[in-house]
Amino acid sequence: MTKYIIRRLLGIIPTLLIIITLSFFIVRVAPGGPFDTEKKLPEVVMRNIEAKYHLDEPLVVQYGRYMFDVLRGDLGPSFRYKDHDVNFYIFQSLPNSMILGVIAISISIIFGISSGMLAAVKQNTWVDYLSMALAVVGISVPLFVIAPVLQYVFAMQLGWLPTSGWFTNGDGWQTILLPAVTLAFADFATIARLTRSSMLDTLRSDYIRTAKAKGMRSSSIIFKHAMKGSMLPIVSYLGPAFAGIITGSVVVEQVFRIPGLGKFFVQSSFNRDYTLIVGVVIVYSVILVIMNFIVDVVYSLLDPRITYK
């Protein structure tokens, strides 16, 4: 087990290296740069700016310098925002995105598993149909449609919740509800469907029948025996779920005006702020890779049939 964890940890390194390299070269190979303005800058000024950010050096040297900095935890200066470096902006906006993401994934897991289990236990009743209908909506309706529609209905028409804003700016804790629910919707749907089908499979298996035959109460069969056995597909889905939350947060932060990393990301892509783009991608990837790692470890702990050498 320890060996498996160590090997898995070592496997993270090349993935991260590839991500950094890819994003570094994508932004630099493209035509146009961060200092292109409507009016052409004088040659000398341009050369000075390029020298300041080491853009005049060969690409390989730039790459080496950047890698060295990243290893020390320094993501470099921002090309667009003169006041602070990339680390500052990322640490300022990352907590907001993290809070949103954690709440969203919690909502989707809690509600997804409970409604999926309910649907399986009460198969072919209205509970089952309702939760599966909701799940189909969650899978078919894209996030960027759900977000403005919820905003329109609950904030603008009914006036129950604020339209946009964020609680760290003093807009009240209610600001977090709509974005979190929106972000949770798609994963809730998938988790509910997964839970239902794997729960149905488990409930038909031999060991559940044995437990029933022994006269156990149905509640303890479901929660003690069936639940543990049917959690495996959900755990393995969590990896892609985290990736979905990250991409989804880009849209949700845009629609609800949340000062998070996703908003920064789209903005800096338009601005061609090289270091900020690559910095955000690195942060996202580290989060994603760590989450995938945790999911794998949990999976191996849950499933006694898998042995790792």
């Binding site: 090349p14 993935t15 590839i18 991500i19 890819l22 994003s23 994508i26 932004v27 493209a30 146009g32 189909v136 899978i139 078919s140 309706v141 894209p142 996030l143 960027f144 449609v145 403005p148 529609v149 905003q151 329109y152 603008m156 006036g159 998938t190 469907r193 997964l194 239902r196 089908s197 149905l200 990736a243 990250i246 991409t247 880009v250 849209v251 845009q254 629609v255 990301f265 789209v266 892509s269 338009f270 061609r272 783009i277 955000v280 991608v281 996202y284 990837s285 994603l288 890779v289 995938n292």
Partner: protein, 536 residues
Amino acid sequence: MLNHKNGKTKQEKATNEFNQIVVGNSLSKDAWRRLRKNKMAVISVILVSIYILLAVTAPILPIYPYDEIVIDHQDLPPSLTKTAGELMRDKELAKMYAQAWRQGRLVVDEATNEMLEDWVSRSKVNKVWDYLLPEGNRQLESGTFTWNASEQRSIDSREKRIANEIQISIEKMWLKDEQGKLSDVKHLETDEIVALYAKLLGVQANLLVDQYTYEIEMQLLKKIKAESTGLTDDEYNMMLRDQLDSMSTKNYDALVKENIYEKIASTIKDMAMEQLGTEASQAETTYPLNEKVAVTEYLTASVKATKMHDRRYYLGTDSLGRDMLSRIIYGGQVSIAIGFIGTLTSVLIGVVLGSLAGYLGGKIDYFIMRVVDIMYGLPYMLLVIIAMAIFGRNILNLFFALAIISWLTISRMVRGQIMSLKNQEFVEAARSMGASTPRIIFKHLVPNSLSVIIVFSTLRIPSFIMTESFLSFLGLGVQAPYASWGSLVGESVGGMTLYPWRLFFPAIVMTVFLFAMNFLGDGLRDAFDPQSKNQL
């Protein structure tokens, strides 16, 4: 191989021991039977067919072209009964009543006043408009409210415009000679058409030569510049000279003719507009008009004219006055096309790589699967966003970016299928008969895993459309003047308090399509593989 072919042509009907004819049942036949029993899947098939039909026939449907803009028709609400002119009038009147209410000239009772103030403070101006329009009309009729002079003037001038403004297109033109015989202007010789234009303008024909030569050169130069970028002006000019020199007289004449024809058409259009615009003809013409009009003594044109403000917008208009219905249909064309072609590309890449990996095994398998593993670990949507933002936002880039990341899952699935099939007897039989590797893969293995591929592709299309729309929503996908469902939703988010129809119609249309595709995919999966019911 030859015997095999002969055997196939002379197929006998199989019978069982009771001499009854046995009809074979293939997997696809069986699946088709099961699919038809699935009500949701059948409805989905019908819906998807309607969507595709609408998308394909968009250019010949009786809708306004998506790039045709009547700037006066901005932000009109959807209406099944009212014409654009009536909606425009309502909109303007509501605004004027609101202004009059603000100035205290339109008086309402205390409670209503408070309600209106409350709406204003919550920035629900559209509710104020909706309330004041019937209220104002009522008061105007009962005489408790009147317009002031300047307001009345602007109302009158708008009424006149709504009643009179027309839109004209010239379909065909004929030249009348001395005997009164008509000949199509399009079929005239080049010098005749130039002479005609000169006569129309009342100038000498040779004076026109300089002008059209210059215009044609500019036109060619523009084309050259679009084809090759980054050259100096001298080089462009040289290319232009080369092209002009190598061009035959016939081709050059055709260019001249085209140029002059357009000019005559636009002159005629102006003249027809003037004629129809006179008070006398206003009264006696009925619209829409579609008839031959003698514009001058020697020129007759078939003129199509409609009242500009008689248009109907069943789904409303957007902020530039474009018809939402046609925007949604043309947007669907883009979205559906990207969904289908993108899926096809990614499935092709995935099938080829997956089947190679599965059949050949060894180092090739290892290499392909490692690439897939690594790409799975990438936050690819982020990379796509960067690539789109930096490499330019056009449909081709979008398509490319999506295709290179979406073949991963299908290649894994095909690989698994092929690995389980490749040791079966029919493959061994093919191999022992000397079939080549590509033949075995594409004639024997891939067709046998087709059911998995079909099911996967159907489920892939909605997610492809979602990804494309996601990018378009962020402003990174399809760019104006083209639209896709995603960009329509994205554009409307800003103004959704005042113009909710701009958000809801594209959202509903898109959602219904995605629903249908998902149900169809689920239905296909259940049909091909009944055991895996409701699995994801």
